[in-house]
């Protein structure tokens, strides 16, 4: 009789511990909404679309709220949902981005000029980001997606590997290749600037 009571108490405690360990949706929103937004922004490059994707991401999480206790790493789980949601959104409204090196070179020349006034820094920064966006869009999809996730401050290479469901070594290799290709394109642009 006493043994049964002790066993029942243990079961109850473990159930309570599981319930306590399971995060609520409000907790997830409070802790990870910034990361979710940044992941979406890294892919969609638009504040409005990124916020829509973040909303949709948490709606997807809400649909599985009864199974939250089964998730071992909520951060990477949520990051993966945000990533797939943003990719779906980008595929739905994808616009073909043409990379015109000559046009990019002109922008780069303007932005890399040494004597940029402080008032124009913001504009120059925006132009630089648009240039980088176009350069990344010219990369193969696997390299571009890995590089985009690597720009999110909250994710390290191990977490990127978990989000993309690939080994961590593959993440590093892809990042190296992506950087190499980007540097080659930048070198061409700088050459144009020097000779132009």
């Amino acid at each position: 009789m006493a043994g049964q009571a002790i066993l029942g108490d243990m079961v109850l405690r473990s159930e309570l511990a599981m319930e306590a360990a399971a995060p609520t949706i409000e907790t997830l929103v409070a802790e990870h909404s910034q990361m979710v937004f940044r992941i979406a922004y890294s892919i969609l490059r638009n504040h409005h679309d990124a916020e829509d994707a973040a909303q949709e991401c948490f709606l997807r999480v809400w649909k599985h709220k009864d199974r939250l206790h089964e998730v071992s790493n909520t951060k990477t789980w949520l990051a993966r949902i945000a990533w797939t949601t943003a990719l779906d959104k980008r595929r739905a409204g994808r616009k073909t981005v043409s990379l015109n090196d000559g046009e990019c070179g002109t922008e780069l020349m303007e932005s890399l000029s040494d004597g940029t006034p402080a008032a124009d820094e913001q504009l120059a920064e925006r132009q630089n980001q648009q240039l980088l966006q176009r350069l990344i869009a010219g990369l193969p999809d696997d390299l571009a997606q890995t590089l985009e996730l690597s720009t999110v401050q909250e994710l390290n290479s191990a977490e990127i590997a978990e989000v993309m469901k690939i080994p961590e070594g593959s993440v590093r290799t892809r990042l190296f290749r992506a950087r190499k290709q980007l540097k080659e394109k930048l070198a061409v642009l700088l050459e144009i600037k020097k000779h132009g």
């Binding site: 909404s33 940044r38 916020e51 401050q153 930048l186």
Partner: protein, 196 residues
């Protein structure tokens, strides 16, 4: 020459790093968490409303089905009895003498005339037909029984005085005759005394 190449590579690395650092370092608009939570609450209310609507439709369907079943049952009850049975049932209510030679023929005839009609129109037609077929001498005389026949024979063969004499006299009549006899006798004696 080699130093220039190295400087160029380092410059490109720096440019790329600076561009990538700021690539996703954007901040969402203030109140992102609040908007996400409000959206989740709205989704929850919508789901609850949808669930309620589903139950409402189930109830409405059940009520409609019940009404249809009731209408079918009530409508079917009016059409249950076949017309031939009704005629047979209504037959005994109309007096039909068993000894009448036309009686079975009449019954068969009515059955043939209305093989598939419902109760409402056939009932008055049957009654009219039965009245038309009623014999002229109604009620039809039945043959005399043995006892009656013997009594008629006795009356025919016996003189009337004998029969009258055999009729039973009740006490009142006897008393009445005695009274008048006494009275006549008394008047006779009084008349004789007055004459004297």
């Amino acid at each position: 020459m080699a130093d220039q190449e190295k400087d160029k590579r380092m410059q490109i690395d720096d440019v790329l790093d600076s561009l990538l650092v700021n690539y996703s370092s954007t901040e969402p608009r203030p109140g992102l968490e609040t908007r996400i939570l409000a959206n989740l609450r709205e989704a929850e209310e919508k789901k609850a409303l949808e669930r309620w609507w589903n139950f409402k439709w189930i109830w409405a369907g059940m009520v409609t089905a019940a009404i249809i079943v009731a209408v079918l049952l009530i409508g079917g009850r009016h059409r249950v009895a076949p017309p031939t049975d009704l005629i047979v049932k209504t037959g005994p209510t109309i007096p039909q003498p068993e000894i009448h030679p036309n009686a079975p023929a009449v019954r068969n005839e009515t059955a043939r005339i209305h093989p598939h009609k419902s109760l409402a129109p056939t009932r008055p037609q049957n009654a009219t037909l039965a009245l038309n077929e009623r014999p002229a001498n109604f009620p039809t005389p039945a043959p005399l029984s043995e006892q009656e026949r013997m009594m008629f024979m006795y009356l025919a063969n016996t003189p009337k005085e004998v029969i009258v004499a055999q009729l039973p006299r009740n006490n009142d009549q006897q008393e009445s005759e005695a009274f008048w006899a006494d009275r006549e006798l008394g008047q006779g004696t009084r008349r004789s005394t007055t004459n004297q």
